[in-house]
Structures are given as C-alpha cells and as structure tokens.
Symmetry: C2
Subunit: 135 residues, 2 copies
DNA sequence: TTACGCTATGTAATAGTATAACATTACAGT
DNA sequence: ACTGTAATGTTATACTATTACATAGCGTAA
C-alpha cells in the first residue's frame, strides 16, 4: 500500500541503500545494510533507517515485519501496486514477493464490512520453498 | 497456525503471563508484561519470553509482528483454529482479531500452487477502527 | 542578496526488543 | 537411585530502532 508517485529521484544515501538491497540475494537487516555501506562512508544506523523510510514510502523497498528486515521490491518500476505479500523460506531465507488481487480484495472487503479504514497491510507466509523440501 | 492440543496446563510463569495479557485491554510488549509481573517476582525478560513462546505455541497468545507485541487470543478454548488475522488501530491501539476462511484459504491455495510448504502466516491490517474515524 | 522554509545529512547517545550461556530445580519413568 | 526432559533463575550481551541536536543544501519570496 505504497504512496509511490512516479519514479522518484533518490538522494545519494537512498540510492546506496537501495543498491545494497538490489544486489543482495535476500532480505537484509538495517544493520547488515549499514555494514555493507561502511566503505561508502556510512557510519550510523540512522543513515540507513532514514533512507529505508523513504524507500519504503516510494514503494521501492518492502519491510518484512516478521524478520525485521528489508527487501528491494521485485516489481518493475511503475508496475501495478497491489499491496505485496511475501513467502519466506525458513530454510534458505529466500523471499518470494507476490501480489494477489483476490487476497487483498478479500482483506479490503473485511475492512469495509468492519468499517475499518485501511492504510496498510502485512501478509507474510512462513514455510519451506519448493527447493528446500526434501521429498 | 498453532499446534494447540487441547487445553494445556500452564506453569506458574505461563499462567502469570497469560493472565497479564488477558487483563490488558490491548497488546503488550514483552517488557510491558515484565513490568506488570515484577510484584509476582519476575525479574528478567527471559522469564517472559519463555512463557510467551509456549503460550504462542499453545495458541493462547498471538504475536503481532508489526508491533513487536503480544495479545491474548480472543477465541474460546478449543475453538476452530483458522490462522488469525488482525486489524490494528493506529489511533487507539486496539486490536480486532478475526479469522476468515476465504482469506486463509486463498493463501493456502497460493502456497499450494507455488509448492511452498506452509507452516505459518502473518496477516495484519493497519488503519483506523470505526470508533476512531471522525466523519 | 538575504531571509526563510524545507529536506537531507552527520553524529552521539539512548531506548526498546530478544537471545546466549550457564547454573539450578523439579519431576516422570525406569 | 539414575536418567532424561522441561522449566526456572540470573547475568550478560546482541540486535533493532529512535531521540536529540548540530549542520548543510537548495528553492523561493521579499
């Protein structure tokens, strides 16, 4: 449920944080991002958190609440912005982002019925991805 | 997605933590629980976290990932155990627990299709409850 | 130009959340 | 009694996030 306008111009810090997340193969905690950007001059958590706040607001990054970590959005710029859902593999740590209009539609319908004014939703699945299942 | 057997017997610490959450009118952080149990002899966070782990496993307590807090389950004992979803009011902090078979069914169906072996799900809505909306 | 407002930044200190490690106790089953 | 398992107590530490305050850049209206 991002408020993403069109492609925003990123500041230097925002671009560095976004780049670190894009290069990562999975979610990173804010402190992991910090460690990867020390060579670029990052010194304090707040530099990361401030950039993350903006990137999340732009819809370029998602926060995974159940992991206290962040991932780059896997959708192309300007693409349809159903609120995202995530499947997190407890074995390999991989995250699959998906957007299912039926699911979010059902949640919106529930909110409507309950007169709950919806501003955001968190949908995170836990389990094992196909590759990490033995059988 | 609790593994709740039938009504488990709680240890003293578990019962105290559960009681604190039941008495609370909303979610409590682990440290808030700790503060409320100091008179009962609680001294360290681990006493709370260990009890919470069990209570969550029993299905008697839910963890709200987007709040880093815990609430007592609002269902009667032994009641049907669809994975719970939550609507969290950003104004009053109130939490409404609901279970919608269509929503969880759709998520299970997505997992099935993606060969994702599901062990748990987090569904949390944010916004304003009916009472907190002005107009 | 200067003055103002707004956003972004740098830095240090602190608050809040969660776990590791180790010692001890309780109790059921053999 | 011996063993295995679960629960507990306690200290220390790790991890996550924000407050507070100082500084710098930039656009715009006077």
């Amino acid at each position: 449920m991002s408020v993403a306008g069109k492609a925003p111009e990123l500041t230097r810090n925002q671009a560095l944080v976004h780049g670190a997340l894009v290069r990562a193969d999975g979610p990173l905690s804010a402190y992991e991002v910090l460690d990867r950007l020390r060579e670029q001059g990052f010194k304090a958590p707040l530099q990361v958190y401030r950039a993350l706040d903006k990137l999340v607001a732009f819809g370029l990054v998602h926060r995974l609440e159940s992991l206290n970590a962040f991932v780059a959005c896997s959708h192309a710029e300007g693409e349809t912005e159903e609120p995202a859902a995530f499947a997190i593999c407890d074995s390999c740590g991989g995250v699959t982002e998906f957007a299912d209009a039926r699911i979010t539609g059902d949640l919106k319908a529930w909110a409507e019925t309950d007169r709950f004014s919806l501003t955001g939703m968190t949908i995170e699945l836990r389990g094992l991805c196909a590759a990490c299942q033995t059988g």
